[in-house]
């Protein structure tokens, strides 16, 4: 595919954590792009490295244990892996915004939400405090916070979970970033509030035109929000493609198993659900070859010996499986 340079291009990224049992590679050589104005979803189960990828882009890995071991994170042509802390400070907030799973931990409990939001404007936009507060009220109105003039004077604990997440989104989008990274933005919320936040993200994306990197374990959220999908398993990419390719023609045995194991409302009740037997191997006990081998119905000697490369099976649809032809 020849297209203009993507906004974000991750190339052979490897991230490790220094632990008592040695260096563990949480992300092991992944590459994908986020084109301008598009929403790319990263889906996978706990420990697959999806959040570590997000924190690596923001250069917010826990210190001193977390480290980018190899690869590039090209943001608008510039490698964030090489950026200094000062440069990252400018890029964060101004060019890349981030929304976390738990809004309460992203907000300062002892400052009013107005002050926290105005601070961003004071750092990046204006010197005038009153103007910063006015911008904060405007932004809170845009994210649908009811009576923002009153709410700016309130503290995070006075807001509901959904309202807190709106505030965090307002902070992430305050400086009109080119990229929004949303790490499980609705996982902590109730389903009706989740629907509100997902609708809000769609609206804001259409309005502001930013690209979104959406990290989630919920394939339903991926289907509703994303243009492209990256499926991760145990620190590597198992499959990637457009949302239609992934849902219409899931090809990697893991993607297929994942889609089949979701209980669906239209399925007959009390029937046996499809499962992926077994467990994800621990990072310290990763086998050689394909990391899905112990749970895969198609595993062969080849899978135990060598790592399957990502193979393009359709334009834009790649799969890391030796046996993908027998999988479909």
């Amino acid at each position: 595919m020849s297209s203009p340079a993507p906004l974000l291009s991750i190339r052979d990224l490897a991230v490790g954590f220094q632990t008592d049992s040695g260096l563990l590679r949480a992300v092991d050589g992944i590459s994908f792009d986020v084109p301008r104005g598009r929403t790319v979803g990263v889906v996978g189960e706990s420990g697959c490295g999806k959040s570590v990828t997000a924190f690596s882009i923001m250069r917010l890995l826990p210190q001193p244990h977390g480290k980018i071991l190899a690869g590039q994170i090209l943001f608008d042509g510039r490698d964030l892996v090489q950026a200094t802390p000062a440069e990252m400070g400018t890029i964060r907030a101004a060019r890349i915004g981030m929304v976390f799973q738990e809004p309460l931990s992203a907000l300062n409990p002892v400052h009013t939400i107005g002050r926290q939001l105005a601070e961003i404007y004071l750092l990046h936009k204006t010197k005038d405090k009153r103007e910063a507060l006015r911008l904060a009220v405007d932004m809170l109105r845009r994210v649908g916070l009811p009576s923002p003039e009153v709410r700016v004077g309130e503290y995070p604990h006075q807001l509901s979970g959904g309202m807190r997440q709106r505030v965090v989104i307002a902070m992430a989008l305050a400086c009109h970033p080119d990229l929004l990274i949303a790490d499980e933005p609705t996982t902590a919320l109730d389903v009706t509030v989740q629907a509100q936040i997902l609708a809000l993200l769609r609206e804001l994306r259409a309005e502001m035109g930013m690209a979104v990197l959406l990290i989630t374990h919920d394939l339903g959220v991926i289907a509703e929000q994303c243009d492209e999908v990256v499926v991760m398993y145990a620190g590597r990419i198992a499959e990637q493609g457009t949302v239609e390719q992934i849902f219409d023609r899931p090809t990697h045995p893991y993607t297929r198993g994942l889609l089949a194991s979701i209980p669906r409302l239209e399925h007959p009740r009390k029937t046996r659900l499809t499962t992926i037997e077994g467990l994800v191997p621990a990072l310290s006990e990763m086998p050689a070859g394909c990391r899905f081998q112990n749970r895969c119905p198609l595993a062969s000697d080849q899978c135990r010996q060598s790592q399957p490369p990502l193979e393009e099976i359709d334009p834009g649809h790649t799969v890391a499986c030796f046996h993908w032809r027998s999988s479909v």
């Binding site: 509901s160 339903g220 239609e244 849902f247 994942l258 209980p263 009740r269 659900l273």
Partner: protein
């Protein structure tokens, strides 16, 4: 035959203490007049969003909480007024599986000790018999041999939930209350645990009260479903009927809000605005009226009671709404 469990007008009100003297100035009506029955071998799914009182209701039934009012008849005996001592024989019959197996398992006990404990408490078996029963339990929930010598931290989340399930079925109870048993698990593990619960129900003839917020999960395992909102049941009926023909506007909104793993489906606008109101200051009349798209003046003034409605299949379905929407 009388139902295994019959809950009538159950209320659990918590005092909200405030100020320097911690006087109870307000009341949180976590469960506010809930009635339902559960037959032997049946699964009743209980669905609702955080703060709707579904977990409190489960805790009242196992009598971890003493309800403020109402009755909990289990095989004809009302559990609500019973003392700790009088409850002990009943506790064998009603067990609970919790959401977070990390917090509900003693980290300093081996799995073997945890699973033998119910037998010790109820004075059952010799040490050798108990060791054999523990082995049988581990087999039943699909844990490997030797697991009894390990500690909870040595297991993954899904395996820990299997330990929690083994503990719950140790005394061969008739009723198991599952409070969000798979919410903390990954999708591929979630389906393993749901399959296990359905198998055990078949083998042991268990009744389940299955509490969860995920309507798709609840519908899959349940015979009937109750939808809770602000401490009350707003709709109750056969699982297929409630899904195919939801009568309460809240049930409809819940169904519409579930993200569907199908990119062809057009993403709907959010079905409901606003948040769930606080159970300390519940709205007047119908508790759902501030968020309901169909609310009228009557809804603001008058609380709708659960009433039976006709279903195409002739099964019982009831809804707490003034109108036939």
């Amino acid at each position: 035959m009388p139902p295994l469990l019959e809950v009538r007008d159950l209320r659990m009100h918590f005092p909200v203490r405030e100020g320097v003297l911690l006087r109870a100035r307000q009341t949180c009506r976590a469960v506010d007049g809930v009635s339902f029955t559960l037959a032997a071998g049946e699964t009743l799914g209980l669905v609702g969003e955080s703060g709707c009182g579904k977990s409190t209701l489960g805790r009242c039934i196992v009598r971890l909480l003493t309800p403020t009012a109402g009755s909990i008849r289990f095989e004809g005996t009302d559990l609500a007024p019973l003392s700790r001592r009088a409850l002990k024989p009943v506790r064998r019959q009603i067990q609970m599986v919790f959401q977070d197996p990390v917090e509900s398992l003693n980290a300093r006990h081996t799995v073997g000790q945890t699973l033998a404990e119910p037998f010790i408490i109820h004075g059952l078996g010799t040490p050798a018999e108990r060791a054999r029963w523990v082995q049988e339990l581990l087999d039943q929930v699909g844990l490997p041999r030797g697991a009894e010598q390990k500690y909870p931290f040595e297991f993954s989340g899904g395996q820990r939930q299997r330990i929690g399930i083994a503990r719950a079925i140790a005394l061969r109870p008739k009723l198991v209350i599952c409070d969000e048993p798979v919410s903390a698990l990954d999708v591929s593990i979630q389906s393993q645990v749901l399959n296990l619960l359905m198998e055990l129900q078949q083998q042991l003839g268990l009744s389940f009260l299955f509490i969860a917020h995920n309507l798709a999960v609840v519908k899959h395992v349940s015979d009937r479903i109750a939808i809770m909102y602000l401490g009350r049941i707003v709709e109750l009926g056969g699982a297929d009927d409630v899904y195919a023909n939801p009568r309460h506007p809240y049930t409809r909104a819940l169904l519409a809000a579930i993200p569907v793993p199908d990119p062809r489906r057009h993403s709907p606008p959010a079905p409901l605005a606003g948040d769930v109101p606080s159970p300390i200051h519940p709205p007047s009349g119908c508790p759902f009226h501030p968020r309901c798209p169909h609310a009228t003046d009557r809804c603001k003034a008058e609380r709708p009671e659960l009433r039976t409605v006709a279903t195409p299949t002739g099964t019982a379905q009831s809804v707490a709404c003034h109108y036939d929407l």
